[in-house]
């Protein structure tokens, strides 16, 4: 961190500090929280202690309800996202390869993207009731439109010269799509999937708050009824960890092995609805 030559001991210390640096906000925040809690002694209904939160996680894990809720949430997310991605990519390809169709559908895409997700909740409760169907619909809805829009964009932005060059090698329409259009559009598709999952994950928690009997969102909502702030905080932390794990172990490896390996960068931030 400094440019002056250092003794081995100082260098080791420097490395240690550098390694621990990412945990500093948590440590500082945790310390401040503990000090405040020990001075003010707020009731559990207002604020838990760190020990309370850890206790809540253990309690929930032991009763098995945590696993049930996590699995319920992940199942909904997986199903909704898978449907959304598959349909979004397919529809995106058909539309992206067909310019007049893309022009025709664009206003609809912009509009339905703007009301995707949670906005459908009141209407859908009436149609499908409370439960998995509702959550899956909202996730599908969030993922589908973003992936759709990004796929259309990606397909349209594949340089024409790449397609032409492969056609002079004798490639037919299908081979051109397979070897040029799909990989060419992949950065955009992945961008869409990534922000789609972001929207989907948020829609899921929101949907479960009011529209489910199980799931992490419902776990938090139930806890609020009994003023169990320890469970609420524990739930939030678990939600964050799952999202981070998905990003790190699912999306990042895919991106590393494709888009980054090929030296390509998507030129959009992806999740821009509209």
């Amino acid at each position: 961190m400094t440019d002056t030559p250092r003794t081995p001991a100082r260098a080791r210390l420097g490395r240690l500090v550098w390694r621990l640096l990412p945990f500093s906000p948590i440590l500082i925040f945790g310390a401040a929280w503990s000090i405040y809690w020990n001075v003010a002694h707020p009731p559990l209904a207002v604020m838990p202690s760190i020990a309370n939160v850890v206790g809540a996680v253990i309690e929930l894990a032991q009763s098995g309800s945590l696993l049930t809720d996590i699995l319920a949430s992940l199942w909904r997310l997986g199903l909704g996202a898978l449907l959304g991605i598959a349909m979004g990519v397919a529809a995106g390809f058909v539309t992206g390869l067909n310019k007049p169709l893309a022009t025709f559908l664009n206003p609809l895409l912009v509009f339905f993207n703007a009301i995707s997700g949670i906005v459908w909740l009141p209407l859908m409760i009436g149609w499908v009731g409370i439960g998995t169907g509702l959550a899956v619909f909202l996730i599908w809805n969030s993922v589908f439109f973003i992936v759709f829009q990004n796929t259309v964009l990606g397909v349209q932005l594949v340089p024409e010269v790449l397609e032409q060059s492969v056609r002079t090698l004798g490639a037919g329409r299908w081979e051109t799509i397979r070897s040029v259009t799909f990989p060419g559009a992949l950065p955009y598709i992945l961008n869409g999937v990534r922000s789609g999952l972001g929207f989907g994950w948020r829609a899921l928690i929101a949907a479960e708050l009011v529209g489910a009997t199980t799931g992490l969102g419902q776990m938090i909502f139930r806890a609020a009824d009994f003023s169990r702030t320890d469970i609420i905080v524990a739930g939030c932390l678990i939600i964050g960890m799952i999202a981070m794990a998905m990003d790190r172990w699912l999306l990042l490896p895919i991106e590393r092995r494709t888009v980054q390996r090929w030296g390509m960068v998507a030129r959009s931030e992806g999740g821009r609805p509209g």
């Binding site: 664009n106 209407l123 948020r202 981070m244």
Partner: protein
């Protein structure tokens, strides 16, 4: 020469037929797709003779919109939501942009905060809603907290991206001209990162608008989320749909008329390519 090639894209039979039909209707390009949706919607309503408590007809929705509009209710609810969004966007930018600069320009700050930031990004704002309700009650503060939390993270992240994308030569060139740190911040970092910041703002608005609607559903006390969730209680499908259309329209208006022009302006003006 290049004009010739683009004008002669590989021939496709179906699209050219479709475009021939569409060409005279250029002015209707936006209306036509929606007309089609309304027609399908109406057809569904008629064909299955759906009850009004399941699906309202387009006409009923239009009437409900007029009624709500005439009594000023619609404007009232919409104004509440928009005001919330405006305040939240302003506060988020004020917090997010400086923080993003600090992380983007400084290795140590980046190392310290980036991991936590990514973690917080995964906890959706709505998840904090129950805790926020316990602390701040069923109030505007609760809604604002949740929306700002949702908005601020994408702004920070994209500010970081913007700052890091600035070529080091720009900074070096100004340093060699004897510019101060503040000067470099103002002349290089801010304009250089602006397009990316606006991208972050747009993304944040996407998340934030939904978080606001969700928060309004739970907290009530006005806003479009309250409108559509309240209408649910009495199965007023027409009102719900009026609210949905308004939510979408307002979002598009804010996004297209406010945020996107800034984006295009900065991009077009400086010819900056978004990475």
């Amino acid at each position: 020469m290049s004009i010739a090639t683009t004008a002669n894209a590989p021939p496709q039979a179906f699209p050219s037929a479709l475009s021939a039909v569409l060409r005279p209707l250029k002015g209707l390009r936006i209306v036509l797709p929606f007309a089609m949706v309304v027609a399908i919607w109406w057809a569904i309503k008629w064909h299955w003779a759906l009850d009004d408590r399941v699906l309202a007809s387009p006409a009923q929705v239009a009437i409900a919109a007029l009624q709500l509009g005439n009594r000023g209710i619609l404007a009232d609810y919409a104004a509440t939501s928009l005001r919330m969004m405006g305040i939240a966007a302003l506060i988020s930018a004020l917090i997010g942009v400086p923080l993003g600069f600090a992380i983007g320009a400084n290795r140590v700050v980046a190392r310290a905060l980036e991991g936590t930031l990514r973690f917080l990004q995964g906890i959706s704002g709505v998840a904090w809603l129950p805790l926020a309700i316990i602390w701040f009650g069923f109030s505007d503060t609760t809604k604002l907290t949740v929306v700002i939390y949702t908005l601020v993270v994408p702004i920070i992240v994209n500010t970081i991206v913007g700052v890091r994308a600035i070529p080091e030569n720009y900074v070096l060139a100004l340093q060699s001209l004897g510019a101060s740190r503040l000067r470099i911040m103002w002349d290089v970092y801010l304009p250089g990162a602006l397009p990316s910041i606006v991208v972050g703002l747009r993304l944040g608005m996407g998340y934030g608008w939904r978080a606001l609607i969700a928060a309004e559903m739970l907290v009530r006390r006005g806003g479009l989320g309250d409108l559509i969730f309240g209408a649910r209680t009495f199965s007023q499908i027409d009102r719900i749909m009026v609210g949905m259309v308004l939510i979408g329209t307002l979002y598009i208006i804010v996004d297209r008329l406010l945020v996107q022009p800034i984006e295009t302006m900065t991009l077009a003006r400086w010819g900056v390519l978004r990475k």
